[in-house]
């Protein structure tokens, strides 16, 4: 039933620097997760994408949200009913300024 979903998730986690990925439904429940990511994050990730959607409610193209912390990044994108969350980690702290 969910093998398509699993396939897509596996494809994502094989990408460069990617630690883990998950997909959440509109209830904030985890549809699937791959890699090193806690399925509980689906709720908060979904909440973040909903909050950002309030920023420009008239914009039809969904925004991509990226949270930076040292060499780690959390990328969130909502598309219709589904929210995708990806954890990324670069080997070196080249991403941005230090804390």
């Amino acid at each position: 039933m969910e093998e398509q979903l699993e396939k897509v998730l596996s494809e994502i986690v094989t990408q460069h620097d990617t630690v883990g990925a998950l997909l959440a439904n509109r209830q904030g429940l985890c549809l699937g997760a791959k890699g090193n990511i806690n399925p509980n994050v689906s709720g908060i990730g979904m909440a973040i994408s909903e909050q950002v959607a309030k920023l420009e409610p008239n914009n039809t193209v969904p925004a991509t949200i990226c949270l930076y912390s040292g060499n780690k990044r959390c990328v969130i994108q909502k598309d219709g009913e589904i929210t995708g969350i990806i954890y990324k980690q670069t080997a070196t702290t080249s991403t941005s300024a230090t804390n």
Partner: protein, 126 residues
């Protein structure tokens, strides 16, 4: 100390959009702490004498399914959703809108554990 806990739960309540009430009771439904939006929907049903004991019974029955101890029951209604967590001797109840972020409520579980310990002590002490 109790003010502290109340403040913390009020913060949680405001974090999750569409959440109306968080309440902590003992397993018989005796209220220990309750935070709610003042002007929001009337959700007093969550404190009705039959509400919590029904959950306790359902939880006990669900634990007999052979899947281990039941931890959480999520009930969806046309206008509400109720998430109840078995933290014996405490019962944690969340009441929210039907489209409220269920995943977010569930993720609160491990965050509140530390605060629940204090209340647990108050319940278990003779």
């Amino acid at each position: 100390m109790s003010d502290d806990i109340k403040k913390y739960f009020n913060g949680l309540l405001h974090k999750v959009s569409g959440l109306y009430v968080i309440q902590i009771t003992d397993r018989d439904g005796v209220p220990l702490l309750r935070v709610s939006h003042n002007q929001e929907k009337n959700v007093d049903f969550a404190l009705m004498p039959s509400f919590i004991p029904t959950f306790t019974t359902a939880c006990d029955q669900a634990s007999k399914l052979g899947l281990g101890r039941n931890k959480t029951i999520i009930s969806m209604y046309s206008n509400y959703q109720v998430v109840q967590m078995n933290k014996l001797p405490l019962i944690l109840t969340f009441v929210g809108a039907e489209d409220c972020n269920t995943g977010h409520i569930l993720a609160l579980e491990h965050q509140v554990d530390g605060y629940l310990e204090d209340i647990k002590l108050a319940v278990t002490e003779p």
